[in-house]
Symmetry: C2
């Protein structure tokens, strides 16, 4: 009998699930939220005066049960907790709801999204680590400040310079301009998207050409004009990119300053901007990528100034047109329609679809797919 118990005890020990781990998005040293082996997340909030506390993803298609709140349970000392169902890997914006007030969770880092600082939850993916900070050479992410001729204001671009940029002073590099989505900012592609680590890892594996990545804020209002609430004012951003940003980057970084070495990509709102700016300025860009957006109501004869009306000329002029979308994205049908219309019009392009919704985990994969295709001779 003793032997049998011993064997069971050993077995139990052997199969015990690892302890829940703090999420990578917790503030420094924070214990909660935790994520268990099945990716159930436990949230914990001290709110002694609250009558009702819940936690919810910010989006209808969030990987943590959409935006359906999880009601939290009050324990000792006014500490409320809840453990969710398994959560999809990736980055999820979320909020606490305390007696009806929607707010950030002080336990997590906040990220600029939804037009404000918003709590984020990072759930590691068991299937890949191409976006993790690893023991490879790292590029830098630089804040580069400048006065915009278009907006009249001082702004800054985030600029990724590849590993050893400073150690190779003769080398020149191609440039990818990479835009965030609506409600986000120039910080999105590094803080939420991990673009720098994705490139570090691709470069360490020899899978992409060393490149500079420029990330700016996709919102701009012309000098002297009042921003219109809710307006994306994309015309001003297009002008800013052409008049301010491309010349600034070419004069401050060791770029290969021609269209063959310049690409523009973006996600969601940024996908529309990448198509608008890239296809509208083929003298500046020869590769264009739209992640989960753009191309709605596409008509090859007239859209984008009619450049697709002559497919042979367009295929000659555009080196790479890359489109992708998650199958659970509300814009999937529209994206796929764009892809099919391009195919029907004999326009060469890449179409990548896969799991996921309108979320950063999809866009990380998009960048991971796109970057190796860029600037290949």
């Amino acid at each position: 009998m003793r032997k049998a118990i011993s064997a069971i005890a050993l077995l139990a020990c052997h199969v015990a699930a690892p302890a829940p781990q703090p999420a990578p998005s917790n503030v420094r040293g924070g214990e909660y939220p935790t994520i268990d082996a099945d990716r159930r997340v436990t949230f914990r909030v001290k709110a002694p005066n609250a009558k009702r506390v819940a936690v919810a993803g910010r989006a209808e298609d969030s990987g943590m049960n959409g935006n359906k709140p999880y009601e939290m349970t009050r324990g000792e000392n006014g500490v409320w907790t809840v453990t969710t169902d398994p959560v999809r890997p990736g980055f999820h914006y979320y909020e606490l709801i305390i007696d009806g007030w929607h707010c950030n969770d002080p336990a997590s880092e906040s990220y600029f999204g939804w037009g404000q600082q918003t709590s984020g939850l990072e759930v590691p993916d068991p299937n890949f680590d191409f976006d993790e900070a690893k023991d490879v050479a790292h590029g830098e992410v630089r804040s580069h400040y400048y006065r915009s001729q278009v907006t009249g204001a001082i702004r800054w671009a985030f600029v990724y310079t590849p590993p050893n940029y400073d150690h190779n002073p003769k080398q020149r590099y191609p440039v990818l301009y990479l835009q965030h989505g609506a409600g986000e900012s120039e910080r999105g592609w590094t803080a939420q998207g991990r673009a720098n680590f994705i490139l570090d890892n691709l470069l360490a594996a020899g899978k992409a050409k060393p490149m500079i990545i420029v990330m700016e804020n996709g919102y701009a209002t012309k000098a002297g004009q009042t921003p219109v609430a809710g307006s994306r004012d994309n015309g001003a951003f297009e002008e800013l990119m052409v008049r301010d940003l491309v010349p600034l980057v070419d004069s401050n970084y060791r770029t290969l300053a021609d269209r063959k070495h310049r690409a523009v990509a973006g996600l969601s709102m940024g996908a529309g901007q990448a198509l608008q700016i890239g296809l509208g300025h083929l003298d500046l860009f020869d590769s264009i990528a739209a992640f989960s957006g753009g191309g709605r109501n596409f008509d090859p004869k007239i859209s984008f100034g009619g450049i697709f009306a002559d497919p042979v000329a367009a295929n000659r002029r555009i080196r790479l047109l890359w489109l992708g979308c998650g199958k659970e994205d509300a814009g999937y049908a529209s994206g796929k329609g764009f892809h099919e219309a391009l195919t029907a019009a004999s326009i060469k392009h890449v179409w990548v679809e896969g799991p996921g919704s309108h979320e950063w985990q999809v866009w990380r994969k998009h960048l991971f797919d796109l970057a190796p295709r860029l600037f290949q001779e």
Copy 2:
């Protein structure tokens, strides 16, 4: 009569106060909080379900009435507002209190302070603009990622490179290591402190030597050890700076890699670290600055390993020892005591006292005073 009215109308027009302006710390495009000509701040929160809403500075000595809450008044559609008394210029951490729940204001940017993301209010100072982003050449602020031998983790330093660093590939620069305070992070000196703009402006005026500034996270736990809650674990950070950071900076940036061209400074907790690390490693640093902290219970015979026991030798060895404190700082008496004990012991040093409490506006002024004194032959 018509003429008189006309004159009064003109006069009224002439003396009308300028309209309240959005605070510089508002999220992109946000109208509130506003600041009027007398620096009264109007906060606005939509919280239809709330019974009681207030706004308060985070610290007892905050420039917005300490941490005494301003009760807000409910208006139409559940929008609550309050206008404060005149607020002291500078940067103030603050919070909303909604039915007893302390939380961030979605209308403002958040900043890492108090061990979490915390709302910040920036109130422009009518008396100076040395910390503003102006039309001068700007340095870059770079995130530099590395694996720490001491902590075992991947970390990053924020590195300010002065204007035209990339355009002067033969020039080498001295380095200032600059630390934040307790509860803050490597982001503090740029996001809250505007260190980069302060240096840009000093350099444009020819008032400081071009220098690199390195800002790291002052919290560190040795590999294999568990962080102790509330512990500053300064020993590990000292080791990290000596073993990891200084060699990393000297091998990745064009530094003048000797003690004559290396200074260390910090605020509050970082002041203690600057004294401990600087005075403990005079082989590495010859200039040391403590902003609003450090030197408590100083005894010239035994403190800091007894290096001040021989004042002549200490004065020869230390090029600059800089101390400063705001007169409204709770640590003012302690700081002044350190200064007086140094004076009594014939230790050369600079002591700067002035208005203000334990707050960023004081530390901006400290950096503005310190930087021109550094690295002078």
